[in-house]
């Protein structure tokens, strides 16, 4: 796990975090992930005579997950559209007189 992974995750989550903020969040993030890793031991129980954890699972299909990428709206709504807009006047867009 590197800070770059956290940076990518923050971008996917629409969290504009500064490098400083990411560095501060990183230890807590890593601590939680290493805590989550204990769940791996549960898999070892899946072969138990009583059916274990795998046998009792009623979980969602992995195919239902969202793609790990920015939504298409990101491109459609930002640069492309804005480059087709009229000229800018500071925070405003100048609309040419048509009539």
């Amino acid at each position: 796990m590197e800070i770059r992974d956290l940076q990518e995750t923050a971008a996917l989550a629409h969290l504009l975090m500064s490098e400083q903020e990411l560095r501060e969040a990183f230890p807590a993030f890593e601590e939680m992930l290493s805590f989550f890793a204990v769940m791996q031991a549960a898999d070892a129980q899946s072969g138990d005579a009583d059916g274990g954890m795998a046998a009792s699972s009623r979980v969602v299909n992995a195919g239902y997950f969202r793609p790990d990428a920015a939504p298409p709206a990101r491109e459609d709504l930002s640069e492309d559209m804005l480059t087709k807009a009229g000229e800018r006047d500071e925070r405003f867009i100048t609309i040419p007189n048509v009539l």
């Binding site: 903020e21 939680m32 204990v38 979980v59 709206a73 925070r91």
Partner: protein, 504 residues
């Protein structure tokens, strides 16, 4: 007695509020007339008399029309709700009325209420200590006697833990027993509206009023006919209570902890403080003395409960909190170059550090390549936990016989903790959720009530029951309360002991 904002009470409430800071906004001193009772026919008379004409407080992630709905966040600091949650409407229809909105950890994420971006709430038993969380404002308001009961939400213990810290009753109902319409979602498959009350009787009355199917919440259900009655159940019957051994859980956790610093902290966080252990043992003695049969039980899958809980909760939070983008909800930045920047800026300025951490975790566990390792594995553990509990308590369809009527366990390993360097770390607070989060993972009802006072602070214990068996849990706790009345903090005055006995 109905709500009577006379000088004595107003002064009493204001003096407490100055010390504990339970409310984000309240209407103390205003002449508030209860709404006409419109649902009297649907509610048992015993319940109505505990609610009609009395004020209640509402955690500020539950909608009340024209009042704030901040969720304890800067992002929603100026947002006011255009409608009321189903639970609030049900209580208003029974003659109750809202006194104010209470403080909470931002979006319900925390165990102290110190994660609120708006204010810190103090414990009425000692203002240098936290009230617990995330429903800390509601618990503190009830413990101080400002309101007889309050609504909270419980995603992983957020009603029961502050109830234990403040010495009041806290009920997390069966998942689906109460409508979630009007609750700001954090982890939809885990959370439910809950009750914090001054007495078991009051808690039962409020639950009787708010439970039931709501056509606007497809996850809500009516109580099955086979479930124990909430009122007029066979009284006095001794119950079979399974006792979960905290030592066994700590040993099981320690077995997996070798080489992991995080797990070592989790093991330490799971060990009961001496005072909590004494309170837990006293509760066992007292329950046995009341005629109940107690027997030890073990739930091996419980040691995976907290990581599974935080995996699922953060994953759901990452999706639920996507709506706070300043377009649908939330304060909008002054300007942005494009919609992407608008969203990013709003979320960066609006969310606190704990919320950002949980969104990051939730996004990460759902990323391509990591879903099997985290989210799907957590779901398998959740299913196993539910099966383990059902093997002891019976299934939700009432098709089998239960070995136990309820399970007894601690609520939290410590009493209300203080602030500063000696406080529990943020990670230890999460790890310490192990006794509460399992009820949310399994969707089962759980009731926290004060067992004793140890070292000047209340110690709560928790009963967990079969799905839809809130009545059984309340019966056991009510018997305990009758024999060992619940304690109150110094300065408490009982303004709400009398109840309205005539229709308003």
């Amino acid at each position: 007695m109905g709500y009577n904002p006379d000088k004595d009470f107003v002064q009493y409430a204001q003096a407490w509020e100055e010390k504990i800071q339970a409310f984000i906004e309240w209407r103390i001193g205003e002449e508030l007339l209860p709404a006409p009772v419109t649902a009297a026919g649907n509610i048992p008379e015993e319940a109505r008399t505990q609610i009609a004409g009395l004020p209640f407080a509402v955690k500020d992630n539950i909608a009340v029309r024209d009042l704030p709905l901040t969720c304890g966040s800067k992002l929603l600091e100026h947002f006011r709700s255009p409608y009321s949650a189903a639970v609030v409407r049900a209580l208003e229809a029974a003659g109750g009325f809202v006194l104010g909105k209470t403080n909470l950890d931002e979006f319900g994420m925390g165990s102290s209420t110190d994660n609120s971006a708006l204010k810190k709430t103090n414990n009425p038993w000692g203002i240098d200590r936290v009230a617990g969380g995330s429903s800390g404002g509601s618990a503190a308001a009830v413990a101080a006697g400002i309101v007889p009961y309050a609504l909270g939400t419980d995603t992983g213990g957020s009603v029961r833990q502050p109830a234990a810290f403040c010495g009041v009753v806290g009920l997390k109902p069966t998942y689906g027993a109460v409508s979630r319409l009007g609750l700001v979602a954090y982890a939809s498959s885990l959370e439910s509206a809950g009750i914090l009350a001054d007495t078991t009787e009051r808690c039962r009355a409020v639950f009787a009023c708010i439970r039931g199917r709501d056509p606007q919440d497809e996850t809500s259900h009516e109580t099955p006919e086979a479930a124990p009655a909430l009122y007029h159940a066979e009284t006095g019957r001794a119950k079979k209570i399974g006792v979960l051994s905290p030592e066994a859980i700590a040993r099981a956790l320690a077995a997996d902890a070798t080489g992991s610093e995080a797990l070592e902290i989790a093991v330490q966080a799971s060990i009961l403080e001496d005072e909590v252990r004494r309170g837990f043992e006293l509760a066992q003695e007292r329950l046995a003395g009341l005629g109940h049969t107690l027997a030890p039980v073990e739930i091996p899958s419980l040691k995976y409960g907290v990581p599974a809980y935080y995996t699922i909760a953060t994953a759901e939070a990452s999706a639920n909190l996507a709506r706070f983008d300043s377009i649908r909800y939330g304060a909008r930045p002054d300007w942005a170059k494009n919609p992407e920047e608008l969203i990013d800026k709003a979320r960066d300025a609006g969310f606190g550090a704990e919320v950002k951490l949980r969104i990051l975790l939730g996004t990460f566990v759902l990323r391509s390549g990591f879903q099997d390792r985290y989210y799907l594995r957590a779901q398998r553990i959740r299913a196993a936990l539910r099966r383990d509990f059902e093997s002891l308590l019976g299934d939700s369809g009432y098709t089998d016989t239960a070995k136990f009527d309820a399970l007894l366990m601690p609520v939290f390993p410590s009493r209300a903790f203080g602030r500063g360097p000696s406080s529990l770390s943020a990670f230890a607070q999460k790890a310490a959720d192990l006794y509460t989060c399992c009820a949310n993972l399994a969707g089962l009802p759980a009731l926290a009530f004060p067992a004793s006072v140890e070292g000047g602070l209340p110690v709560g214990v928790q009963l967990m029951g079969r799905a839809w068996a809130e009545g059984t849990l309340l019966d056991i706790a009510e018997g305990y309360e009758q024999a060992f009345p619940f304690p109150h903090p110094e300065g408490f005055q009982a303004f709400w002991r009398q109840v309205c006995t005539k229709p308003l």
